[in-house]
């Protein structure tokens, strides 16, 4: 076309970014890459290589090593060897390294951007203007955290050797999200980039070598899922951080169950994009473009479900279609392209399959009139209307440029539809009404809520999911907790305390919890025994008359604020240390757990109660416990035989109640200073219903220490008291009855610890499980948590000193009882 012709049509022409410098870099490496281990490049011992391909033209870019077992072993060994020194250097020194990395990333930003677009297929506009600047920002921000670690995280230390597995949709950005906080906090890393997109990680490795990062601090092993599995299963890795599909996250959870490895997972999503009738609809249309046609829709938090108010849905649909006509799909290296190539044929086929299924299920498909390139792997922007929540395309993550649109009538219905998903990664809310926006944001089950914006990210704000979108946060102060652990854990380990405690169930005759053979029990429970011998207290009649038999006190279950009999009419005996029978408790079963979980959900209003009210109720519980301190001390003494300690334990329990009453309205969120005009509110929200399996170590204190923090933060709890010492807990419900705690907030189900723990772990409507028990029980809880990918907090059978405030109470418990939601609120009239 000549100038005169273009003058008439005003068409767009090609605007290619040169690939030459990136290709020259590949050529310098002879298009073949080894592994970056211990600061050096080495060919894989496996001898295997695979090709990474440019999705825009389906041509190979380079050969990359497939790391095998020996390679991963070497990488982990290098990271382990580098750990002590890296951990020991002052934060300031680590800050200098991270700062240098940030500077290098900026200096070579275009090379990184072009390489990223070549390898991944994303438009150069995005890699240049979004990915790489966010990467540099992430390293700057975390250089600051390295500098401040000693001051801001006193009493905490690095987790250790971290295995990190990242996805192909934001290759370098996901690397930054993983590597920057890990290194800042003094961890060493073995990172596996995605097999489709390893190149920028390899360039980054080169930069690390250039800035003199000590060998072994960051190791990069390329490979497919097999390499990932080797990292996940490696015994000398302390933590796994994974971003990817919920499917693989589930496998990783299962594979690491009981290993003691810490785990953070950032998984899939089906994020709602909610449009109210007072939204700026033209801006909404651009919001949809940013939500679902950013990165070809291959974004875990993509706004893939438009929920539009019925009154404006038709207008929005029309404007959206007009806008879709002007989107440009094509060569990712063209600077005027909106949508690039789909990363790989497998992904394209998945998108095509789901789109076909959407049509077959009756949804109406719309695509713009223009055509996509036929070379390479492309897919046009796609809108589905007439979609019901039951449709496959409304439920499953498509991970492509495909959006579904549904309508709602009321704000309440919009929330119900928005939350009608297993996922909970992000949500976007469009309204000009601040009251509506701030009403809806807390009601959405999502780790990030964007008001009148979408897909904005920053190093200072945490990102991560609710529900099956995973757990853990990346970014901000909240993200750093994933990479530190309390120092006392290390000391305990050094003192040999970390050795898993023997499973109590198998610990010897005096701890034997099986029904006494003598009284001829029925199946699973003791038969009623003669009165006097069972009781720890003998009541005397006044005036020295003959002793009366004590009145039988029957410990029941406590569900929904009422004492209820167990589903099955069996009881379990409770013994004193000397073998005396102290009493009996109900033998709760899975149906009792089911009922307790339902009762807990009905108490959801507790999470919306004011923090002040929650504090008042906890103080009141403390007050009522204090009034019966002697009785509880006697009970504790009877159960564990430690008399002076019993009184002290009750006193500590009262103090601990005060601690959490105090925290109830003080565990503040934050306002993150993200770099554009908005407030980013990091709110601590309750997780929901938490199953708490209490420790045996201190009958009353252990119960209070684990059950109260979730309640203080607004969760409802289904508690399984110590199997050995349950009576303090069952006595406690009488304290609850006098303390104004709404029914259902704390439910107590006695019975076999591990049996009930496993029912809780496998329950898909339980949002988290805390487990303090045996190593095997911990493993089972972690393994069974995969049904709904609930958060778990288990002790792997390692004891914790509940009398030590550093171990037995504090912010660690509050963090475990909350999840951080970041709400982005841009402002400006």
């Amino acid at each position: 076309m000549n100038v005169a012709e273009i003058f008439e049509t005003l068409e767009y022409g090609p605007a290619p970014e040169s690939a030459a410098p990136a290709l020259a870099w590949l050529d310098r490496h002879e298009r073949t890459f080894g592994l970056f281990i211990d600061g050096r490049w080495a060919p894989p011992r496996s001898g295997e290589y695979f090709e990474t391909v440019n999705p825009a033209d389906a041509r190979p870019l380079a050969r990359v090593a497939q790391a095998g077992k020996e390679d991963v072993d070497r990488a982990v060994a290098a990271a382990r060897a580098a750990l002590p020194a890296w951990q020991a250097v002052p934060g300031h020194a680590r800050a200098r390294y991270l700062y240098a990395l940030a500077r290098q990333l900026q200096k070579h930003s275009r090379l990184f951007a072009v390489l990223e677009s070549l390898d991944n297929g994303k438009p150069i506009r995005e890699s240049r203007d979004i990915d790489i600047p966010l990467v540099a920002r992430h390293f700057y921000h975390h250089a600051g955290w390295a500098q401040l670690m000693e001051r801001e995280f006193p009493g905490y230390t690095a987790v250790g050797v971290v295995g990190q597995i990242i996805p192909w949709n934001f290759p370098l950005l996901m690397l930054a999200w993983k590597v920057a906080p890990a290194l800042a906090m003094g961890n060493t890393v073995v990172l596996k980039p995605a097999e489709f997109t390893p190149l920028t990680a390899l360039l980054f490795a080169e930069v690390c070598a250039d800035v003199g990062l000590p060998p072994g601090v960051l190791n990069i092993v390329t490979g497919d899922g097999r390499t990932g599995a080797l990292i996940v299963e490696h015994p000398d890795v302390d933590k796994i951080a994974f971003t990817g599909s919920t499917e693989v996250g589930r496998i990783i959870r299962e594979a690491t169950a009981g290993s003691g490895k810490r785990l953070s997972l950032e998984l899939g999503g089906k994020s709602p994009f909610i449009v109210y009738d007072d939204a700026d609809l033209d801006s909404v249309v651009e919001g949809v473009v940013d939500a679902i046609w950013f990165n070809q829709g291959q974004v875990c938090c993509a706004g893939s479900r438009i929920l539009a108010h019925e009154g404006i849905a038709a207008t929005l649909e029309a404007r959206l279609k007009a806008r879709m006509e002007t989107l440009r799909v094509g060569d990712p290296l063209d600077k005027a392209v909106d949508i690039g190539a789909i990363v790989a044929p497998a992904q394209l086929e998945k998108i095509q399959r789901l789109v076909r299924q959407g049509v077959e299920e009756g949804a109406v498909l719309w695509q713009p009139s223009w055509s996509c390139p036929t070379e390479g792997w492309f897919f046009p922007p796609t809108l589905f209307t007439d979609v019901s929540p039951a449709a496959t395309i409304a439920q499953v993550e498509i991970f492509g440029p495909v959006v579904v649109m549904m309508t709602f009538r009321t704000p309440e219905e919009s929330v119900a539809l928005a939350n009608n998903t297993r996922y909970g990664l992000a949500a976007s809310v469009w309204t000009e009404n601040v009251n509506l926006a701030l009403d809806i944001a807390p009601k959405l089950k999502a780790g990030t809520v964007w008001i009148n914006c979408t897909n904005v990210f920053d190093a200072a704000a945490g990102f991560g999911g609710y529900r099956e979108s995973g757990y853990g946060r990346e970014g901000g102060r909240e993200g750093l907790w994933e990479y530190v652990k309390p120092e006392w854990e290390t000391h305990a380990a050094k003192a040999g305390l970390a050795a898993a405690r023997p499973d109590l169930d198998a610990a010897g005759p005096d701890l034997d919890l099986e029904p006494d053979p003598a009284p001829a029990p029925g199946a699973g429970g003791a038969a009623p025994a003669p009165d006097a011998v069972l009781r720890n207290e003998i009541e005397f009649a006044p005036n020295g008359a003959a002793p009366l038999p004590p009145i039988d006190r029957t410990a029941k279950l406590y569900i929904g604020g009422r004492q209820v009999r167990p589903d099955q009419g069996y009881s379990l005996p409770v013994h004193a240390p000397d073998g005396r029978l102290l009493g009996e408790v109900a033998h709760g079963n899975r149906k009792d757990i089911r009922n307790a979980v339902e009762a807990a959900h009905k108490a959801a209003a507790w999470g919306r109660a004011t923090a002040h009210l929650r504090a008042q109720v906890l103080y009141y519980i403390a007050e009522n416990l204090a009034a019966r301190a002697d009785e509880f001390a006697a009970r504790v003494h009877a159960m564990n035989g430690a008399s002076p300690a019993a009184a002290a334990e009750v006193a500590r329990a009262i103090e601990r109640l005060f601690t959490y009453a105090a925290y109830a309205d003080k565990f503040d969120g934050a306002v993150h200073p993200t770099p554009f005009r908005n407030v980013t509110l990091a709110m601590h929200e309750p997780i929901g219903v938490i199953g708490v399996v209490c420790p045996d170590d201190a009958p009353l204190l252990g119960f209070i220490s684990t059950v109260i923090p979730p309640i203080a933060m607004g969760n409802a709890v289904v508690a399984v008291p110590s199997e050995r010492f349950p009576l303090a807990a069952t006595d406690f419900y009488q304290v609850l009855d006098t303390s104004d705690l709404p029914g259902g907030v704390l439910n107590i189900v006695t019975g076999r610890r591990d049996e009930l723990a496993q029912v809780l772990a496998a329950h898909d409507d339980v949002d988290a499980v805390w487990y303090f028990g045996s190593r095997e029980g911990s493993a089972a809880v972690e393994r069974l948590s995969t049904g709904n990918m609930k958060r778990t907090w288990v002790d792997y059978g390692r004891p914790r000193d509940w009398t030590d405030p550093r171990q037995g109470e504090g912010v660690e418990f509050l963090r475990q009882a909350t999840q951080v939601k970041n709400i982005w609120v841009p402002y400006g009239e």
């Binding site: 005169a4 005003l10 651009e286 940013d290 005027a336 076909r356 390139p373």
Partner: protein, 342 residues
Amino acid sequence: MATTQRERILPDRPTGVRPPGPQPALAPPRNPGLPLELDWIRDVRVNRSAVERRAAAIGTRRTVKRAWQAAWLLRAVTLIDLTTLSGDDTPGNVLRLCAKARRPVRDDLLDALGARDLGITTAAVCVYHAWVETAVRALQGSGLPVAAVSTGFPAGLSPFPQRVAEIHASVAAGAREIDVVITRAHVLRGEWEALYDEVRAFRDACGDAHLKVILGTGELGTLRNVARASLVAMMAGADFIKTSTGKESTNATLPVGLVMVRTIRAYFQRTGHAVGFKPAGGIRTAKQALEWLLLMKEELGERWCRPDLFRFGASSLLGDIERQLEHFVTGRYSAAHRHPMA
């Protein structure tokens, strides 16, 4: 970019038809206006942060290079209201301006671009009333219209009859386009009827001359006010809505422009009347001109990138465009003194 064949996901099923986009006729009739619709004005929603985000991406999502850039810049030349609005204007510099308007780009450059036959001129010349006759005489035979700023430009606060009379005088002097200013106070106080009546009166006074309504967006406080003022001006019969006088401290910005063109689109979709857009003030570089053209093409389509529906109010823009065109032709960076001054 290879765009030979459509990616067929579902070969047996049509993928829908293109929705009716805004496509005015080749020679759109003038906007007759509407009775004032206060409900519509009340319903206006503008989210500033989202608008700024989109505006910031206009120039990063799209770009034109090489021949395309040269062609787009030539188009930009034909959209310029070449303007002088200074207290020290005299017939001497006004005549120079008119000569430049007739021949804005050096012939040798046009030859090199293959654009000699395109008849490249600026869109109009824009002056104060005092120099309308001078300019009309100077442009005789060129077909180029003279635009006069009017109605107590730039503040627009002289007595109302005088402002109307000023329009009559400029039209009588031969101005075919009248750039009026509104009473900003009407917008700031939400006096939409008063604003409507004012613009309606200006339109009536214009007769056959085209009315460009300057909103003075830098003095309207909010983007929502910009949108509401745009709407009222169109309802009252504006042929163009224009951002600024060039005398406010904040001139034409892309967010303001985005809000105005979206309002134009909404008005067109609802009424079928195509209203033009003129950003003015602060547009000095070829790069800026391209950004504005990208904005127009993206939001309203190519049809709105022609002089009957889009103008730049600018005085120094042309000089930078000439230098860029020469760079395209020669491959060397150019200098201002190599191009005839206005």
